[in-house]
Subunit: 371 residues, 2 copies
């Protein structure tokens, strides 16, 4: 009777779909690998997302399958499609979030702005690229990387000799950027597209640490270009659900596409509290092909700060009395994960009219979870 | 490791605690009577809230027990307290939400403004009250009534002869009121109290149909008096968690206390989308004795309209395409209950700066679920 959405993966992105699903009366079912994962409340089956039988069993009786992560193998996705399951985003789109080489090739073919890049099969090809691009580059494994993993800066191929031998690599120019931006967009199968504010994201050790919505001092031209890029990617790659386009804003005011994520994304967490329709509700609407909600900001500024690692001793909740007493307006999100150095265990969002104050509130709130 | 809250009752109030619990990393466990109730996702045990053994078993391992409804017998509550379980609100407070005669006696003793009332044991006493109060009155069964049940207007005791014989009844004057208001307040055990905006509630057939926050054209004196009444009730009755004080605003600008509810309440549903801290998050904070969140409104006006009954044919979700297409800013809440005439199956909330427009948006959205 209720619309039923199956989510492959039991991490915090699946978890944060639960509130939206409860509000809208959507039956959310999660396929997790283990007991006790972040989205545990909605887990309907334990299984391996790489195992076709597990995934086909999970998909029985759901209206649509979507994802907490992008690691489901294409063969498994193909089996779902073969079995008549609605998969959103579809395998033909997810491919470009799974393989950075294919992504670079496709975006280049579409004429979208990307850093200089090359497919390199050996050290000689890498050295040739470095020589042509100022002597440095960013080397990436095409698949499997996230949060700074599978990425390294290299100044000679010899530094990266250990990465060769298991397939081609992607090398990109070391972009001289002023800051990183992200454009979040949602698209439903029947075509509607909605974008949220262009945001600024601050990375620390390759991990998103802070997001400011909207990106301060972004010119309307930059905002227009970002929106246009996101529309083009969503439409040309036939992405359904939420898509995050991570961008470099260069020192000469160009935008270059850095990464794509075809799911709700850390750079959109602010929208849960800061936009009329948050990214998790919008993702559920989009994959169910329902009309998209307003993406307007509820306050002039929202700032999200990740809780990375969490307390050295004890739980996040033990810090609530001090945090909530000091910060009655900040919204706290706790992913229910054990604290561990560098692990994303939660986030906080502050909203208001004065950027400096909002940044202060969010950072001060997150600081309660440190040490 | 996580704070754990046990909720007795599996209705929509327990359901709407789930999003707040997920966000804050609270382990929410629900004791429901049957499979498939509104809060089904969080049900940890099926059982009878009137059965002490069931309730004691449910309470094992939770930090605090709270409620979806006020019907848990005092004997069961006493057994919980005896067993060392934190029960919030406590039995000594809940008593006044369970028994309207005791509530009237207590509020009168506190000097709070209430309608003229009497305890009547027989028809003669009722006729005497009616003769002294303009020939009409509102007769109520002291316990068990809600949503217009257990309440009738009488003009002679003979009309109510069928209600006598199983204990004293409460009769109240037929108040000449301009409108009904409600003051929602939250109180934590260690003492903090937070009130939301005074709201206007529109009842239809004894059921809350629409709520406007803040109550339009309420004078600051009226707002101050309402807040003071709610503070007094919360503190003097030692209520913890959310308390709703339903009020009559009389044609001569007095406020009289109508009913008390010691739990999140229909008149506070607007706060989920319209306040910085919604009533369900605040209730969880309060019963866990955490600092309370800001109750500020996020927009100048929020209007909540109940979905009563729902579609004559099909599900609420079948109406989403038309509703969401027409209303991208309205927030939809679906309680996951089968449509049935008069049943509360969901609500919608609109927010904005112009009252007329916000009322229109909310009513137009709710109308999509009718017929």
């Amino acid at each position: 009777m209720s619309p039923t959405v199956g989510v492959i993966g039991g991490g915090q992105l699946a978890r944060m779909m639960i509130p939206a699903a409860v509000n809208l009366g959507i039956d959310l079912r999660v396929l997790a690998e283990n007991d006790g994962e972040s989205a545990g409340l909605a887990v309907s089956q334990l299984g391996d997302y790489r195992n076709t039988a597990d995934v086909l069993q999970f998909a029985q009786g759901v209206d649509v399958v979507t994802f907490d992560h992008e690691h489901v193998p294409q063969a498994v996705l193909a089996a779902l499609v073969e079995a008549g399951v609605a998969v959103r985003p579809g395998p033909h789109a997810l491919l470009y979030a799974q393989d950075k080489l294919l992504m670079r090739e496709r975006l280049s073919a579409l004429g979208l702005p990307v850093p200089a890049w090359a497919r390199v099969a050996d050290e000689a090809q890498l050295d040739a690229f470095l020589a042509e691009n100022g002597g440095a580059g960013v080397l990436k494994t095409p698949t499997g990387g996230y949060d700074g993993k599978g990425v390294r800066i290299v100044r000679s191929a010899a530094e990266a000799s250990d990465w060769f031998g298991s397939g081609d690599l992607l090398v990109e120019e070391l972009v001289s950027f002023r800051r990183e931006l992200a454009q979040l967009v949602a698209r439903r199968p029947s075509g509607d597209v909605a974008t949220w504010s262009l945001v600024e994201s601050v990375q620390r050790d390759g991990v998103c640490a802070e997001v400011i919505a909207p990106a301060p001092n972004a010119t309307s031209r930059v905002a227009d270009v970002a929106r246009e890029i996101a529309h083009t990617v969503a439409e040309q790659l036939d992405v359904t659900g939420v898509l995050a386009v991570e961008l470099f804003e260069t020192t000469d005011e160009r935008l270059l596409v850095n990464e794509l994520a075809m799911r709700p994304h850390n750079t959109g967490h602010w929208s849960m509290d800061g936009a009329v329709t948050g990214q998790f509700e919008q993702h559920l609407r989009a994959v169910l092909d329902l009309p998209l909600g307003s993406t307007a900001q509820r306050e002039p500024y929202s700032v999200m700060v990740n809780v990375l690692g969490g307390p050295l001793n004890g739980t996040l909740a033990e810090r609530y009395p001090a945090l909530m007493s000091a910060q009655p307006t900040v919204k706290v999100h706790n992913y229910g994960k054990a604290p561990r150095p560098g692990r994303k265990v939660g986030h906080v969002t502050a909203s208001g009219a004065e950027l400096d104050e909002v940044v202060y509130l969010a950072r001060a709130a997150a600081a309660h979870f440190e040490g």
